[in-house]
C-alpha cells in the first residue's frame, strides 16, 4: 500500500498547493500540479495506475474545486488512461518528453472538460479562448513537468528505501 498512499499524498499535496498558492498567482492562469503528478505516475505505472489515479485525482479536484462531480473525474481519468497507455511509447527520462506530455495532457484536460460542459449544457464554451488559455497553462505545466516528475520519482525512491527487502510491485499489488 506504500505506493498508492504515496501517490495519493502527492495528489493531495498538489491539490493543496494549487488551491492555496498557485491560485493566487496574479496572472489569470495557474499551472496544474495535479495533472503533472498524474502523468508522472501514470507514464511509469501503466494503464491501471493511470486510470485509478486519474479517477482519484479528478474526484479530488471536483470535490475540492466545487465543480459538478464527475467533470474533472472524467477529464483526469481520460488523461490518466492516455498517459498509462503510453507507458511503453514514452521515455519519460528523455529531456523534453515530460514537458511535451504535460502540455498535451493539459490540452486534453481542457478539451474534455470543455466537451463535457458543452454536451451537458452546463455552459457555452468559447473554444478559441479556451484553447488560448489552455495553451498558456500547458506552457506553465511544461516548465514544471520535469521538477514534478523528479519529485515523484524521488518520493518513490524514498518509499522504496524504507523496505529494501520487498520489491515495489509486491507492495503495490499484493
Amino acid at each position: 500500500m506504500t505506493r498508492p498512499l504515496l501517490l495519493f499524498g502527492l495528489l493531495f499535496a498538489g491539490l493543496a498547493v494549487d488551491g492555496a498558492w498557485l491560485s493566487r498567482v496574479p496572472l489569470g492562469f495557474a499551472p496544474d500540479l495535479v495533472v503533472l503528478v498524474l502523468i508522472a505516475a501514470a507514464v511509469r505505472g501503466g494503464l491501471p495506475t493511470g486510470a485509478l489515479l486519474g479517477a482519484t485525482a479528478g474526484y479530488l479536484r471536483d470535490v475540492a474545486g466545487g465543480s459538478p462531480l464527475g467533470v474533472y473525474t472524467l477529464a483526469y481519468l481520460v488523461v490518466g488512461i492516455a498517459a498509462g497507455s503510453m507507458m511503453t511509447l514514452l521515455d519519460f527520462d528523455q529531456r523534453f518528453v515530460p514537458a511535451m506530455t504535460a502540455a498535451g495532457a493539459t490540452m486534453l484536460v481542457s478539451l474534455v472538460t470543455g466537451g463535457v460542459v458543452v454536451v451537458t449544457g452546463l455552459a457555452s464554451v468559447a473554444w478559441l479562448d479556451l484553447l488560448g488559455s489552455s495553451a498558456i497553462v500547458a506552457g506553465m505545466n511544461a516548465v514544471l513537468a520535469r521538477p514534478v516528475d523528479a519529485l515523484v520519482r524521488g518520493a518513490e525512491r524514498a518509499a522504496r528505501r524504507r523496505h529494501p527487502s520487498k520489491p515495489i510491485a509486491y507492495r503495490v499489488f499484493r
Binding site: A16, V17, A55, V63, A64, P68, T73, L74, L77
Partner: protein, 271 residues
C-alpha cells in the same frame, strides 16, 4: 490486458454516470462521506499553506516598506536639518534686531540651496578629521562650501569630485573658523586640534567669558555665513603673559556620529 481495459472502462462508465447524475440534479450536489473527509483534510492543509504564503507576502511587504521608509526618512532628516538651520538663523535674527540689515545679508547668504548628503566614508587616521559625502560637483557642490548638520557647523568642503566630496571637519587641525560669542559678540577664531574639542583663540583678556557661552560663526570670513552654531565654551585657558585668552569649545555637532549633512551650496558669503 483485458482486465486493465475493463478497469478503465468501468471507471469511465462510472465517471460518465457521475457527470450525468450531477448535471441532472445540480442542486443535489453531495460529495458524500469520502468527499467530506477529503474536504475536511484539505481545509487545514490549504489553510496552513495560505498562512505560509501570507507570512511571506507580509515579509515582502515589510521589506518593501522598509525601503520606502528609508527614502522617506532621509527626506525627513533633510527637512529637519534644514528647519534646524532655519530655527538657528531666526533666533539669531531675533536676538539682534539692531543688525537687521546685516542679518538680511545673512539670510540671503544662508537661505540658498542646501544639498542633503549622506556620509559614506571617514578618514581613519587619528590626525585628520575628514569625512566623505555622496554629493559632488554634479550636484552643485563647490570647494569651500559650508557643511552643516541640524545642530550647527560641521566644516567645509575640502575637495570635490563629480559624485563625492571630502569635508574638512572643524576639529581638523587645518580648520579655522571666524566666530563670535553669541551673547557678548566677542570675536575669535575657532581652530581644530585634531581632537574632539576645538580651541577658541584671540579672545580679549579683558572680557569675562562664561562657561557654556554659545559660539556662532561670525560671517567675517567669506567661507561661512553668519550665525551658524559652532559649539559651547567648556573651559578657559588664560596663560600668564599672553595677550589673548583662549577657550576650549565643544562642537555643537557630534562629529563622530554624523550620518547626514547639509551642504550650503549657495551659503558662502562671497557668492
Amino acid at each position: 490486458m483485458r482486465g486493465r481495459i475493463a478497469l478503465a472502462g468501468v471507471l469511465l462508465a462510472a465517471a460518465l454516470m457521475l457527470v450525468t447524475l450531477q448535471v441532472r440534479q445540480p442542486e443535489q450536489r453531495a460529495v458524500g462521506p469520502v468527499g467530506a473527509t477529503l474536504l475536511a483534510a484539505l481545509g487545514p492543509a490549504q489553510s496552513g499553506l495560505s498562512r505560509v504564503s501570507d507570512s511571506v507576502a507580509r515579509l515582502w511587504r515589510l521589506y518593501t516598506d522598509i525601503g520606502r521608509l528609508r527614502v522617506e526618512n532621509t527626506r525627513l532628516r533633510e527637512d529637519v536639518e534644514r528647519l534646524g538651520q532655519e530655527v538657528a538663523r531666526l533666533r539669531e535674527q531675533a536676538q539682534a534686531t539692531q543688525r537687521l540689515e546685516k542679518l538680511l545679508d545673512f539670510r540671503t547668504a544662508t537661505g540658498g540651496r542646501a544639498i542633503g548628503a549622506r556620509v559614506i566614508g571617514r578618514d581613519t587616521s587619528q590626525w585628520f578629521a575628514v569625512i566623505l559625502v555622496d554629493r559632488g560637483s554634479r550636484d552643485g557642490v563647490r570647494r569651500n562650501d559650508p557643511v552643516v548638520a541640524a545642530e550647527g557647523l560641521v566644516g567645509r568642503v575640502l575637495t570635490v569630485s563629480p559624485t563625492t566630496s571630502q569635508v574638512l571637519l572643524i576639529t581638523d587641525a587645518r580648520s579655522a573658523v571666524g566666530v563670535v560669542l553669541q551673547q557678548s559678540r566677542e570675536a575669535g577664531v575657532v581652530e581644530g586640534l585634531g581632537q574632539a574639542v576645538v580651541r577658541l583663540k584671540y579672545l580679549s583678556r579683558a572680557r569675562e567669558i562664561p562657561i557654556g557661552a554659545v559660539v556662532i560663526t561670525s560671517g567675517l570670513t567669506s567661507l561661512f555665513p553668519r550665525g551658524l552654531p559652532v559649539g559651547t565654551v567648556v573651559s578657559l585657558v588664560r596663560e600668564q603673559g599672553a595677550i589673548y585668552q583662549e577657550a576650549t569649545v565643544a562642537p555643537s555637532v557630534n562629529l563622530d556620529h554624523l550620518e547626514e549633512v547639509l551642504i550650503l551650496a549657495e551659503g558662502r558669503s562671497d557668492r
